[in-house]
Symmetry: D3
Subunit: 318 residues, 6 copies
């Protein structure tokens, strides 16, 4: 029996009621749940267009339109999974290290119970806190990182932590296994030609947009699957992986990116059956979104695909 | 002991968490509460700019910024009152009579327990359902109606119900006592010079914007108080009472209207100590609002003043 | 001699004058016309993002930029066709069945005179009224349905009519011939895996976005042509067939959709030479559109391609 | 018998149909009309925020909401007046002198038939063309000029004509009688302290915003009436007379301005019974307007008050 | 001879060229200047709507429209003053204490040379850094604080510094003289009735919006002048002093506020002739501004009035 | 030693400081520079959606995000090139021929010094002035013209110059060599089937969007290279070459266009190593852009690719 599932749209219209993700119950519980959706409304790590503290709210707002059956995976999420909207994790606006501690502490019990968190950022700095919590339970993980940017900066004005350094820190802190790590979609001008070197030297595979275009989506999928294999894997999706036309509402939009359909192929075909530890989707900036809120719709769709992957695994008995 | 009050902003930032009104607990309960805030996301009664079904959500979204102490009334709401965000009442989009029944049924128990509802529209047609429920308990009430429009149309394409007819229907159905009714702020071009006649003949007092400007806010307040006296009173506030510059996000914006400060004077000084039955604030249209969401901020402020009036009465031992 | 054609842009600039579709004369006439463009500003059938009552106006507003020669079909529309902007059909906001009757009555004489209507919605519920009128003259028709959603819901809160049920009603009412019906572009989460069953059991062909991507645009075109053959065919285009990036201004935007170029290929190559009865383009929601009004531009472009198809047939002597 | 009046809103909803001003018939006729509304979609005279070529369309778009009875003047416009939406006058984008000639030629017959034009700009340069036409019939007129700017610049990059010089040109060309001219609402920083000198030396009365605030609206009204007396008077209203909060959609918004109510008082009480020759309302910039389109609503309201003044005179037998 | 002044608008149009404040030369010099305009693009101190890091840019963008002569003070700024756009002070996004140090260091030499800085925020936390610098030179100053909020919070999540605590810190750090300090315009709900106590106990005068309304603008001006007298005075203007309708683009908009004209009266009449040390204008949030950018126009206008006050003093020989 | 390069982002954050293109020094110098970036804020040549006078500013505003290394060409721009933001060229708003002269005069010395200008429009009419200047030095050039429109109109209301005629004028004035000219991306309805004839008869190659789609990007690149060979080439990029979804902020958006990635392929692979004379990017209309400013980001990206091509040539010793 599935305990927590969305409100039936025939009981109240989709535009009705308090906005939780996908109209799931807002319960801060770890009992009888397979996954939780939780916000991390934090953007102090942002070095350019700021305001992703309002990202979780914006994604929830449009997510009421989501329905439970994923036709691509042929799975009805709530035939197999129970999930809640866990609310937002605690943060201290303006103070990144304190926030890291609070988010990490809040997430450790989730990982310990083998519940899969789907986190809604916030800027990309929050992923480091998630990884710290996950690594306490799972050790260094495989990671699939969809992004326009490598986020492997070293320091910025002498500071270690911001949304452009999380991936380097995660390697340095041994939270992820670089040999099982892949970054997909990187593009745009760089500081210099050595910007990817740190990660590549550590063993990370990097596929730029030109790489993906040249090899095609199918080969990219193969490359992702080869990298992560059966290892516990964390999936982090920066919304700017999508082209600026598909996700205008983000802090550092990049042109020459991907469509939502390409993203869906990579996420569903690239990750189906993998051994998931956690997911996040970050950098949604509502103040830059179009009036039709297409960035939030895209982020909600990605989050739904994440949840569908969890359900698919359950369905398959993984 | 006050059972239900907002989340402490020092526990989580104001931009954090699931959006309920003023960060109140989302509980569908009538125990231990003095007031409830409830949405009525319905706009089928709208004859022009539509979309106020998203009004309750938009008001909740910005209401997290509200703090508990009202300096004008010198009252800390949650020293005296317990309140919840009751969620949204059931509606059937596209079907007004069915919605009327559902809202009425949902509200009758609230009125029976002498809990004061603060409803968030929705278009102004919903007020009729609220009045029907209230009148079951209180009989024909006094009413204070802040609006740019008189809403005393008869039929529209042969139909009785829409957002421009509720006030006439309320008189016809004996839900309000016209002798204790006052409409404030009416303005703009009319169909003809007899448009106010129906209400005036019934005994309703009408103060247009020119009337209010001529007599001043103080005299207007006196007139309101004289009209309603100690009778059970329902207060309905159409956001287009405010000038279009102050509330651009509404279906039929009207120029030559009032400032938020004038509205606050009328609401707080005009209604302080009255014998309240219910409140609503209607016609917020988020798609027409400015990027800064000033219409939603204004509506949240009016709703807060309504709640403060409830608390003030409690404080005074009324 | 072509009687009705657009105002010459060298007589007045394209941004000048009363906005009719493509600067055609606004005449409510059925004499000397081959096609009419008519709005159906009705959105009471909408269950989520509402406001497509302003759709016809928004499409007309930008359509002044259209020029008469279609280079893809190598046809100058007004060398072969006379057309007018017929204005908007009567509607009753808030009342769907009455509106259905009024639209149907208004359209029957158009169909009787073998004039091809190009209707601008409004939400997708209006298509049922169009089909009812068309079927009075043509009997059950072939239909090509471009959409992200199947619109084959049964009832919603016990009601038969809204924008998510028109296709099912059309089958039930024998307005369309399911064996000659094809739905293209369906995507996004569903209520369950049986949602397409009703239509498919009746004989309708369904091509989801994944189907189209897999088979390619060319094979899709072949499939459309095989389905409709020489039968009288109605073409209905929900703007959300386009990806949310290409058509953000719609009530239920869906990601993972199609580009305008793909749509143009499907419309022009897929339908060239077919035996058209009527066209519509629906679900344009101006309040959700980007400041550049790209959704309205896209809709105007689709409508122009519809008109070009009419002219192409004339040119070919069909 | 009044020949031309708006479509009855009970025949079709206000959001329905081709957008003409106030739903008047779009007829290019000078028979059986008392006033015409005509657009002048020209903005080449603009020296800063450009785009008022779309102003007439934007004002028409929202004007459907206007009703025929003006409660302030107690007059039902179409009991006394017949009027049409005459469409837009011809213009040549990018070429101001050619446009001046075309507009002048188009307007002379209107003035000759003693029909009162209510023109919708366009930038303020178009007023010169209107005055040239009017002066052919009426000689040098009185003028009431509501504006934030004096528009008495001399040349700009050596050029005589733009939206900042029309008033000086009108004096120089003897189109207006400076002794019967008044400018109301001027404000904001100037090039130097002598900027008003040219007009004042010619006899023009200038009331800045500080002047109006000091003397009050009533005294301002008296001053206007004293100036214009019974002379033929032209009224030109630059929408930036209104404060930027009330009319954000304009090319050079100015703070510290007036409310729509103050404007209405000045227009209705200041001009009631005057001997009108022509009216215009200019500088509406839709691309700068708020999503709720409050600037267009304000402009439509001013235009309606102009029409009401015409009707009031008819009613009084003037 | 005035060395630095704006580019002549007859040399290049106002919409042309690199955007500096008022088209002043962008020079990082302290020679031959009477005032500097400098940005502090920092918003890490913000606890709600964030993004004022883009404030300085937004104010500069529209400031090209400003002209040199202030008609209210009858002063042509650049007849008396030389000024530059000094660019932006250094900041470290995400790190408030480091930023405080950098801003303070950058400002000390300015104060030492008796050059008056007009700073453009940034959130209100930056004012503390400005005061620290100023106090090094001038000791504890008088202060006039226009704001909707008292900014006298103590700690927030245990942290001393953010945009809601600067005023308390300034008192604690002895940067301002509370007996010569006045806060004007405070309004909106509070945490409790004792929120103003800290400042009032220290001797600060607080005038809420209701106070100002009751006593009138003139009496308010008197009160300001009495407070500051001849003492060195710092003026800080939070844009949310203005009503949300006049300044929608700010992080925590408050209704029931002031118009730009009221602000101008208070600034020009309230401060004329005072002994200025420094000025700032803070909390402009471009992402919340209306498309017409009225908040930026308002802020540019306030900054121009500040500069005019400096010039007025020069003119008067103060 | 490279003299002029961007401010180091570790010295001041990317959102900080006066906005020049890519944070280059704003110097009006032709010494020690390889390229200049210059704005031409002129839009009087625009026949529809106007406002590109604000284009240069909008592109500069977002260009601070650009970094110096182009990974596609493997070149670090400022290892090889020195460049400045030259500011904006002089223009006279409203007067096209005067502006042509001023821009031409300003550009001749640039071309004479073999400095490559990258101009930011402005509407497409400005390209004629650029070509006139370039041809003085280089004679008739090869040209690559990316655009949705052919811009080969003859006259418009009897006038020779506007944004739809520059290409024809350039042929007539012998500024470009038609045999070495190629137009890529043309699409949308035309006046008639002969609209491309003038250019094609002169020898220009035209590739419509359907042509490009049919032959593919690679073959298109080949065609471009064959056309221009080693000749001095001017590259002009109308932002509406991009699909309306990718560049909504433009005066005449066209659907069925290209993605930014396709554009990047054509620009970088199509032009790598060519013998560049000048570049421009035109028709950015900020008022039509999405809140996320994606059109400006796209334009900045194209401009960066232009600069990268210059640097690549230097690197290769061309």
């Amino acid at each position: 029996m599935i305990k927590y599932q969305p409100i039936d749209p025939l009981v109240s219209p989709r535009f009705s009621g308090i906005r939780t993700f996908m109209r799931l119950p807002n319960e801060e519980t770890l009992e009888d749940v397979d996954f939780i959706v939780a916000g991390i409304p934090f953007d102090t790590g942002c070095t350019y267009g700021i305001g992703s503290r309002f990202g979780p709210q914006a994604i929830r707002e449009v997510s009421g339109i989501l329905k439970p059956y994923n036709p691509v995976l042929d799975v009805n999420v709530f035939d197999h999974c129970s999930g809640v909207d866990y609310g937002d994790f605690p943060t201290v606006p303006g103070f990144i290290e304190e926030t890291y501690e609070m988010v990490e502490q809040a997430l450790v019990p989730v990982y310990k119970k083998n519940i899969i968190p789907v986190c809604l950022g916030g800027d990309h700095s929050v992923t480091l806190a998630e990884l710290r919590a996950a690594a306490q339970v799972h050790g260094p993980m495989a990671i699939v990182h969809f992004d326009a940017h490598s986020d492997t900066g070293d320091t910025y004005f002498g500071k270690l932590y911001n949304h452009g350094t999380f991936f380097r820190r995660a390697i340095e802190e041994n939270l992820i296994d670089p040999e099982s790590a892949i970054q997909v979609g990187l593009r745009g001008p760089l500081y210099d030609g050595r910007q990817f070197k740190f990660a590549q030297d550590a063993g990370v595979e990097i596929l730029t947009n030109w790489d993906v275009r040249k090899m095609g989506i199918k080969a990219t999928i193969t490359r992702i699957r080869e990298k992560i294999q059966e290892k516990p894997v964390f999936v982090t999706f920066d919304i700017d992986f999508l082209d600026a036309a598909y996700a205008p509402g983000t802090g550092t939009p990049e042109i020459c990116g991907f469509t939502t359909f390409e993203a869906q192929q990579l996420v569903l075909d690239g990750l189906k059956g993998a051994n998931f530890v956690g997911f996040d989707i970050v950098e949604v900036l509502p103040s830059g979104d179009s009036p039709g809120k297409i960035t939030s719709f895209a982020a909600a769709g990605v989050a739904f695909d994440f949840i569908s992957l969890i359900a698919f695994n359950k369905q398959q008995g993984n």
